[in-house]
């Protein structure tokens, strides 16, 4: 324990710790973990939005090959009919029939390519996109398609979007849950660190009380010390996490995928700004704990 104090110019009465106390290191590590969890939840949220947006507003129309008759001619006629229905529907902005090669490429991973596929009666696929913000009456569209192409099936991906939404929401809520657990652990750590520090200075609290200092005056002398310590330690921890996310972003920009199969790990600037909430929260917890602990300690003294 050493350092400047009130001096001849006035100032602090509580002691200034020399160097980083072990508990500051703990606060820094907990802030780092909390920042990672917060960043992960933001990434999961963004990825889920991306998945939803990717499928929303898209329609796929399958025109199945008829079972009897002139299969190719009827398939072509029904496809033309479906295309003209789609093109004449308000709100549909693009209508793209998939070429035979594209369709074969889609099934090739499952049943192989070459001559096997060439003989198979594959359906005709049409990809259509709906103008954002526009509502298309899908029941009417499906009926019109049936009239024009009796062997057509309209798929608006509702089933997939629903499943993806459940999956994405699950990931986001899991990230929030982990974040909440780390937040509780960080809160407990900061509170414990602050109380332990104050315990060591109980003699100072008792002496100031004995000399007639009001509880608020004593608390003020300690709370800002713990506020600044926790702010510095948690800022260091959150900064490390921000550097890690930025480094992941840098690797992605350079074309290197740090973690395969996962969405991009780089946080946007606004998302990085959210990490600043962690040191602010840690400092506020330390401040409040120090104040309440000193007030409680003083109230226990006669």
């Amino acid at each position: 324990m050493s350092g400047a104090s009130i001096g001849k110019t006035g100032g602090r009465i509580s002691p200034r710790e020399a160097g980083a106390a072990p508990l500051d290191v703990v606060i820094g590590i907990m802030a780092f973990l909390a920042a990672l969890a917060l960043g992960a939840s933001l990434l999961a949220d963004r990825a889920a939005d991306g998945w939803r947006e990717g499928l929303a507003g898209r329609l796929t129309i399958q025109v199945l090959p008829p079972e009897h008759g002139a299969i190719a001619a009827r398939l072509a006629a029904e496809t033309e009919g479906a295309l003209s229905v789609l093109k004449s529907t308000d709100g549909i902005v693009t209508v793209t029939p998939l070429s035979e090669q594209d369709t074969q490429a889609l099934v090739a991973p499952w049943i192989g390519g070459g001559a096997v596929i060439a003989d198979l009666p594959l359906p005709k696929l049409i990809d259509a996109t709906i103008s954002p913000g526009t509502k298309v009456d899908l029941a009417t569209l499906a009926a019109r398609l049936k009239a024009a192409a009796p062997d057509s099936i309209l798929d608006d991906h509702t089933r997939w979007i629903g499943r993806l939404k459940v999956l994405a929401d699950g990931i986001v809520w899991a990230a929030y849950f982990i974040l909440a657990l780390i937040a509780v652990a960080t809160t407990a750590t900061v509170a414990f660190a602050t109380r332990a520090g104050l315990q060591a200075h109980h003699d100072i609290v008792a002496l100031l009380h004995q000399m007639g200092a009001h509880a608020g005056f004593i608390a003020r002398n300690f709370e800002w010390h713990y506020f600044i310590s926790a702010l510095a330690a948690a800022t260091a921890g959150a900064l490390c996490a921000a550097i890690l996310f930025s480094a992941a972003g840098g690797l992605e920009l350079a074309g290197i995928e740090p973690v395969p199969f996962l969405p991009p790990l780089a946080l946007h600037f606004t998302e990085l700004a959210w990490l600043a909430a962690i040191p602010a929260a840690a400092a506020a917890i330390a401040w409040a704990t120090a104040r309440l602990s000193v007030l409680a300690a003083v109230s226990r003294i006669y």
């Binding site: 350092g3 104090s5 006035g10 100031l208 009380h209 200092a213 006669y302």
Partner: protein, 223 residues
């Protein structure tokens, strides 16, 4: 100034350390409190400087009955008392100057207002060249003098000193007693707990003695 009526004190379920202690300290008086080790001197002082509540009896301080006075009033009462603790209780991270200035700081004083007074007082107790020294670098006697300077710097209404000359030589001890005497002449009520018979005989002030927790009046005061 101070009135004790049938005051008793015990710690937890232990025996009574003080029994039916009754006395009055008039404003501006100078009193020695004597007694063997363990007779209850420190406990009696503790009750007087609001360090502990009594187990029974009435204590009246500056006209306030402590049993009925709100706790929120205690800080202002405590600021009227200067205490020299037997174990000094200096703050290790503060310099001698800062330790002595503490009561003035708590009273809302600004450094520019009290800097000269604190410098002078530390000079008076023989520590003019150790203003910036921290307690760990001072001898026991020097620490005691810093503790005494801290107790008297705000010119308290009541000065309570527990063995204030225990760690200093006779010459410095007499000098410190003169400081207490000077303060007493300015109106401060002084109570000194001591074992030092020579000090008591030289100053011939009122003497109260604690014997097994009971208070006995030995001498009524200055002739």
């Amino acid at each position: 100034m101070v009135r004790f009526e049938n005051v008793g004190m015990r710690y937890g379920a232990g025996p009574e350390v003080l029994r039916d202690v009754t006395f009055v300290l008039e404003a501006g008086s100078f009193t020695f409190l004597t007694g063997a080790s363990g007779a209850g001197k420190t406990t009696l002082l503790k009750l007087m400087y609001l360090g502990e509540p009594p187990t029974r009896g009435l204590i009246n301080l500056f006209g306030f009955d402590l049993a009925t006075t709100r706790r929120s009033e205690f800080p202002s009462l405590r600021r009227r008392i200067g205490v020299v603790f037997q174990d000094f209780r200096l703050l290790d991270h503060l310099t001698a100057f800062e330790n002595v200035a503490l009561p003035l700081r708590l009273a809302g004083g600004h450094p520019e207002d009290y800097e000269k007074d604190v410098d002078e007082l530390l000079g008076w107790v023989g520590l003019g060249d150790k203003l910036d020294a921290r307690p760990a670098t001072l001898s026991g006697g020097e620490q005691q003098r810093v503790a005494i300077a801290r107790a008297v710097v705000a010119r308290p209404d009541l000065l309570i000193a527990d063995e204030p000359t225990g760690n200093v030589d006779a010459e410095i001890g007499q000098r410190l007693i003169r400081l207490f005497g000077e303060l007493n002449r300015l109106g401060t009520t002084v109570l000194i707990a001591t074992h030092d018979r020579a000090l008591i005989e030289r100053n011939r002030a009122r003497e109260m003695r604690l014997i097994d927790g009971r208070l006995v009046e030995l001498r009524a005061g200055r002739p």
